[in-house]
């Protein structure tokens, strides 16, 4: 036997079953749901999908590289706040804020006796800068953090705890500095984007499709990374970090990269959230939302890019419907979900699909024929070692 099997079909970064999966998802999000749901419900789906960006980042970061970040809400928030600052400035034109003691600055600043726009708000008058910042600010923050931690070989549970602490710090900071951030209420009352009213149903539908388009683009990006040598390196690092290091790789730079990528994806999600929902607040930044975003990924399947999207939709749909009728049951359900997904089906929906459904559908859907060539799907369970130097 020669090397044909692993090498053929890999010239393009998507396998046939990936393409079918992406096409089905696109069909669902672009055609089926818009036709089946009313505007109100569709806006909910649009909101859920912004979390899917975070879940997507977590698949790469946690599922593939084994780095569990409990601070993804921070990046989601950074992206969201960047966008919110731009929209707020546009909504706070001198004409709109004539009644304030200092016209031309956001209302909450005026309430907090601030008389001039803080310097770090200034660049957010420009849409180009804002768009860049949505991706760059979270990525830069992740870069600094990643460098500091990964270069010193902090990993596993230590990394998780530190990122969780950061989520706590960020929330306290935003709430505490209400003159600059809008405090606990967040940045609200956002109206227009370049003069285009984002509050109308029509605008929200357009934004929904923009969101889906961006998400599909990010999914393709994730597939590209996953199927590149870098993707296999991440799996290798998760398994035997030292072996990768002693094969001539600077392990930390790969971890920094995937952490930054996941942060940038979360930032895009946050910005789309602000645009679609019309506000941003610290309640999407802290410990609780951050860890909930992890559960979306876990339910979908921590190793499955498409699974993460379905997991996000499913958990959020359940959350919305439960919270409407039995709010007290939801917390029990969510808690149970955390336990069940860890104990009973660690590979999430994607794992169940792989084991129970795919074999019946044949090789095109990831059935038996691809087993040998699909690493890291059957038995992943990244065993994180508390990787502390010395």
């Amino acid at each position: 036997m020669t090397t044909q099997a692993p090498t053929s079909g890999r010239s393009f970064f998507l396998r046939p079953q990936d393409m079918i999966g992406i096409a089905l998802l696109a069909l669902l999000l672009l055609v089926v749901l818009p036709l089946a749901l009313d505007n109100f419900r569709l806006q909910f789906v649009g909101k859920y999908l912004t979390y899917a960006f975070v879940a997507l980042g977590l698949v790469l970061c946690w599922g593939y590289a084994g780095i569990l970040s409990l601070g993804q809400g921070v990046f989601f928030g950074l992206g969201g706040y960047c966008m919110a600052m731009y929209l707020k400035l546009e909504a706070s034109s001198v004409e709109n804020t004539r009644i304030q003691s200092t016209p031309g600055i956001p209302d909450f600043m005026d309430w907090n006796q601030i008389t001039a726009l803080p310097w770090f708000w200034e660049p957010f008058r420009h849409f180009g800068f804002t768009t860049l910042a949505v991706v760059a600010v979270p990525a830069l923050f992740a870069l600094i953090l990643g460098f500091a931690l990964f270069k010193r070989r902090v990993g596993g549970v230590y990394f998780a705890i530190i990122t969780q602490a950061l989520a706590a710090i960020m929330t306290i900071l935003i709430v505490g500095q209400q003159g600059y951030t809008g405090g606990i209420n967040g940045i609200t009352d956002l109206r227009t984007l370049h003069g285009w009213d984002i509050r109308t149903d029509g605008a929200k539908t357009v934004l929904y499709f923009v969101c889906v388009g961006l998400l599909l683009a990010c999914i393709l990006l994730a597939y590209y990374v996953k199927s590149s040598k870098l993707g296999r390196l991440l799996v290798a690092m998760r398994d035997k970090e030292d072996r990768v290091r002693f094969s001539g790789y600077d392990v930390s730079s790969f971890k920094v990269f995937v952490f930054c990528l996941s942060a940038a994806l979360s930032g895009i999600g946050g910005a789309m959230f602000t645009l679609q929902v019309g506000f941003m607040s610290p309640s999407f930044v802290g410990i609780v939302p951050s860890i909930e975003m992890v559960i979306y990924t876990a339910v979908g399947g921590r190793l499955s890019i498409l699974g993460a999207i379905y997991g996000t939709l499913l958990v959020n749909w359940a959350k919305t419907s439960f919270s409407e009728s039995f709010p007290e049951l939801w917390l029990l359900g969510l808690g149970g979900l955390f336990i069940a997904v860890v104990l009973a089906f660690p590979n999430g929906i994607a794992g169940l699909w792989q084991v129970h459904v795919a074999p019946r559908l044949g090789p095109l859907f990831g059935g038996p024929a691809r087993r040998a060539a699909s690493p890291a799907v059957a038995e992943p369970l990244p065993v994180a070692t508390p990787a502390v130097a010395e």
């Binding site: 010193r152 230590y158 998780a160 530190i162 710090i169 808690g335 860890v342 508390p386 130097a389």
Partner: protein, 308 residues
């Protein structure tokens, strides 16, 4: 920021804040002790630790109610009964948790983290449904009320002093248990080499269960002590969990002494800063300080260099 105060005032401020810091320190130590045993010795991340603590607080509350209604003559000593009950209740719940959940996850620490987070959500909701969403506070026995004057401007509360004394007693007891008793030796043997410990006849599963139970039991006692200085609600435990984990990690997960030293540093820094800055900024600065130091010294403050 010091210029507005005279020297005498400053020293009183530091004393008072130092005392407030000592109470915070006591709570940190009590919570961190249990966590240090579970995380440091077993490597398990127990995100529900705060809820085990709150269980102890509720047990104390109900014991105080019981004494108030049925044994008013013995009300002065209810706390000691409550403490034992709290230890037993949280310990038993801890052992059940270990048996049902944790033991399947020893090789997957990150998954334990998620599963125990789920447990904490469930416990919070159970507390809310069973005990109600309102915060409850216990009535202190007469001898614990009031305060002692130290100087003419500085006073310390007796309940605060009591909690500190209790903290010292429990810490000593845990240290003796871990480092002097044969059971402690078994625990440490299992931690260092599970296979070998099993081979020499230690029932490693039983040791695991009791260690986890002990850690949770101590959390229950912490909750009991907590009622002396604050009220208890279904989500009170969550408030402390991140700080406590930082305390344990900062101290070097396997060192009991390190845990205490780091609890002291963090609580003192926070309460002193609190006087000069807003409470939230004090906390932010403390946490950032801890995180930065952890970046520079990821193994924690007190870790022995070992050969790999």
């Amino acid at each position: 920021m010091f210029s507005d105060y005279s020297l005498a005032e400053l020293s009183s401020i530091f004393l008072m804040q130092g005392f407030a810091g000592l109470i915070l320190f006591s709570v940190f130590v009590l919570m961190a002790l249990g966590l240090a045993i579970i995380f440091g010795q077993m490597g398990v991340i127990n995100m529900a630790h705060g809820e085990f603590m709150i269980l102890g607080a509720y047990v104390t509350y109900f014991t105080s109610q019981f004494f108030l209604n049925h044994l008013p003559s013995l009300f002065g000593i209810y706390f000691f009964v409550a403490m034992i009950l709290a230890f037993l209740a949280s310990g038993a719940l801890g052992m059940a948790t270990e048996w049902l959940m944790i033991r399947h996850l020893y090789k997957r620490p990150l998954d334990t983290l998620l599963a125990t987070w789920g447990l904490s959500l469930i416990l919070q909701q159970v507390y809310r449904s069973v005990f109600g969403p309102r915060e409850v506070g216990v009535e202190l026995p007469g001898w614990m009320m009031g305060s002692l004057p130290v100087t003419d401007v500085v006073e310390v509360q007796i309940n605060g002093l009591f909690v500190m004394g209790l903290t010292i007693a429990i810490t000593v007891a845990v240290a003796l248990l871990m480092y002097r008793s044969s059971w402690g030796k078994q625990v440490r043997a299992v931690v260092q080499n599970r296979v070998m410990a099993g081979a020499v006849g230690i029932n490693t599963e039983k040791v695991d269960r009791y260690t986890f139970g002990l850690g949770c039991g101590i959390a229950g006692v912490a909750g009991s002590a907590f009622t002396m200085i604050g009220s208890t609600g279904p989500t009170s435990g969550q408030l402390y969990i991140v700080d406590t984990f930082l305390v344990v990690v900062f101290g070097g997960a396997q060192s009991l002494l390190g845990t205490i030293a780091s609890a002291f540093t963090i609580s003192q820094a926070q309460s002193t800063l609190e006087f000069f800055l807003s409470g939230s900024m004090a906390k932010v600065l403390t946490l950032i300080g801890v995180v930065v130091i952890l970046m520079l010294r990821p193994q924690g403050l007190f870790v022995i260099k070992v050969r790999r």
